[in-house]
Amino acid sequence: MGATRTRRLLGSALVVLSVAGLASSPTEAAEAVKVGVLAPLTGVYSIVGDRGVKGVELAAAEINAAGGVLGRPLEIIARDDETNPEVALRQVRRLILQDKVVAVVGPLHGGAAIAVSNETKRSQVLQFPFAAVEDLTTVSCQPFLWRITASASQTSRGGAELAKQLNLGSWATISSDFSYGRSVINYFVEHLKDITPSVTIATQAWPKLGEEDFGAYINDILKSQPKGLYVGLFAADLVRFVKQAKAFGLLDRMTVLFDSGGSHEVLKSLGNDAPFGQWASERYNFLASSSEANRKFVAAFNKKYNLYPDMIAHDGYASLKFFAAAAEKAKSVDPRKVAPALAGLRLETPKGVVWLRPEDHQTVQPTIWGKVQRSAQYPFPILTDFVVVPAERVTLPVERSGQGCR
């Protein structure tokens, strides 16, 4: 009797347990697919890095709301790379070994992106860098790295195409004296000479990165009297240069093209000191496209964060959309299967329809230039009168790119 009762009790306990188990299994979500983001989240560049993370997270929210990737939700893990290659390397190892991510978006810093690329190549994890440095898709091209962001050469070759349209005859250049700063100008000058052989380069200035006083360089440029000036400086250097160029009256004396002058943070920081009426480029500009995709993206970003998306927000957003589309195509989230599915993949991003070239893993996309103007609608200077230089004219020819992937 006692034994029967015990058995019955055990039996009902088992029933309860198994029912509980049955009840819990449908609510237990499919295992999340983890994607890491590496960006500066502290320090001066964190304001940019933060928007990159926001772009990736918005894309993840949209993908998850539509049922996830292959029925599995995406989980985003953001880590601070401190704009430092060594820290980025440590963080990517943590993301791969501890968090088991299948893909990494970032970093923004060129050196950090190359350091991380060595690790993603070795560990066979996908990487979508924010960095524009050319090497990533030329000599450092590798099977698992795919760049949604415009490359440095796309922007400056686009600048050369605009310079040709402006037909000014003589140009000067100024850019920071380090690898990225030099490559921006070299691609501009080389392409400009290719398409307008009669052009003359009046003078080339190479201030150090972080230069405080551009006065001597500005004086020299004024003396050489070019009709146009191409500026490869960025971030705080660019803010200083614009203010000093304005004080010297340089902006009234020639046409100026700012390679990364359309950067949201730079324009916002300059405010009334912005180079109004001059040309600036931005890899993505929220006003440049009237497509449905762009309208939806800008509205969703603004609603979620009360901010306007800039290029890094867009590139983070588009990178995750590319990953999701390729995973669906490959019917797997295994990087070894997703990577081949990325080759040749064409997708409409808020910027427009872009596609990933199999030879060098670079997106083929147009370059956007616009005029800096005051705006009644926005509390910061904006770009208007957009000139969109077609993708095939700005992207490096295949034979000069993707060396690392051959």
């Binding site: 320090g43 001066v44 964190s46 304001i47 004296d177 200035a205 190479w206 201030p207 150090k208 972080g210 405080e212 006083d213 006065g215 001597a216 360089y217 004086n219 020299d220 004024l222 003396k223 009297q225 971030a235 705080a236 803010v239 200083r240 203010k243 000093q244 004080a247 010297f248 009256g249 340089l250 004396r253 943070e265 730079v266 916002k268 920081s269 300059l270 405010g271 009334n272 000191d273």
Partner: protein, 296 residues
């Protein structure tokens, strides 16, 4: 347009004046640094923090949008840097005066890191920017060569400040006290002077000088966390060239460095970065105590 000789002459004149403007700002920062070294024997790494605070304080007044923000801003810069300087001296540095120099070095280095993060917390992470005051927005013409009128303003204001500083040190009771403290602190104490309070005043004076330098430079530069680092390194070079503790040495050193930066960029652009340090090496080889240094 062909380059005629007189355009060339104006061009070099503009370049020299450019160097003077750079030198003046450098001097304001270096003067405070050399004062602390000469009188207190203190190597204050946190000096750049005051340069940065000065620039941010000016920005804050500008951001309120009041007319006459530039003048009001300088009042704010002086008040804020003086207050921060006084509090820092009293609570972080004074307890360390009797300890070996290393403690002060470490403490002031910690302050650099703390202030770089503190400004991010207070003012946010975006770069800040202030324009030159309205009357000095445009460019003057030297012959046919444009020269920013704000640079001219910096040169004039800087010279006035330098004269004022010289009068303060040479012609006032406070100046005599400062010089006496540098010569023999114990003797001054024995004469009944409150040495702690005097040292605090010197620290405050040095902080205000750096703050004013930062605020004067702000309309030409970007305002961001860590902006004081570069200028402090250059100021150390100036102080060493001029001779530790010598105000005149710092003035001449700053002007020399300003010229070498402005002209060096044009003559030997590839070595422009190394020029300040080359000057330093040459001066130290020739005069190990600096141009105007007598004692170390």
């Amino acid at each position: 347009m062909p380059v005629v000789p007189d355009v060339n002459a104006w061009f070099w004149a503009a370049q020299v004046l450019n160097g003077v403007a750079i030198g003046i700002i450098l001097f304001l920062v270096a003067a405070g640094l050399t004062l602390l070294l000469g009188v207190m024997g203190m190597l204050n790494l946190a000096h750049g923090a005051f340069y940065m605070i000065g620039a941010y304080a000016l920005y804050s007044v500008f951001a309120t949008g009041t007319g006459g923000w530039y003048g009001l801003g300088f009042v704010a810069v002086i008040v804020v840097t003086a207050l921060v300087g006084a509090v820092l001296e009293r609570f972080t540095l004074r307890p360390l005066y009797e300890r070996p120099q290393g403690y002060i070095l470490l403490a002031t280095f910690a302050l650099v890191l703390i202030f770089d993060d503190l400004v991010l917390l207070i003012w946010g992470r975006a770069y800040k920017s202030v324009p030159p005051p309205a009357p000095f927005e445009g460019a003057l013409l030297l012959g046919s060569v444009p020269f920013p009128s704000y640079y001219a303003f910096i040169i004039l204001a800087g010279i006035l400040l330098t004269v004022a500083l010289w009068l303060l040190l040479q012609r006032t009771a406070l100046g005599r006290l400062i010089r006496a403290l540098g010569t023999d602190r114990e003797m001054v104490a024995a004469l009944g002077v409150n040495v702690s309070r005097s040292l605090c005043m010197i620290y405050v004076l040095s902080a205000v000088l750096a703050g004013v330098g930062g605020a004067m430079a702000a309309p030409l530069r970007s305002i961001s966390s860590g902006m004081g680092v570069e200028v402090v390194i250059q100021s150390f070079v100036v102080v060493v060239i001029g001779g530790l503790g010598s105000i005149w040495g710092a003035f001449i050193g700053a002007l020399i460095l300003g010229q070498f930066s402005a002209l060096g960029i044009l003559l030997v652009p590839r070595f422009a970065v190394a020029i300040p340090y080359l000057v330093l090496v040459i001066v130290l080889t020739w005069r190990p105590h600096g141009l105007f240094g007598s004692r170390v």
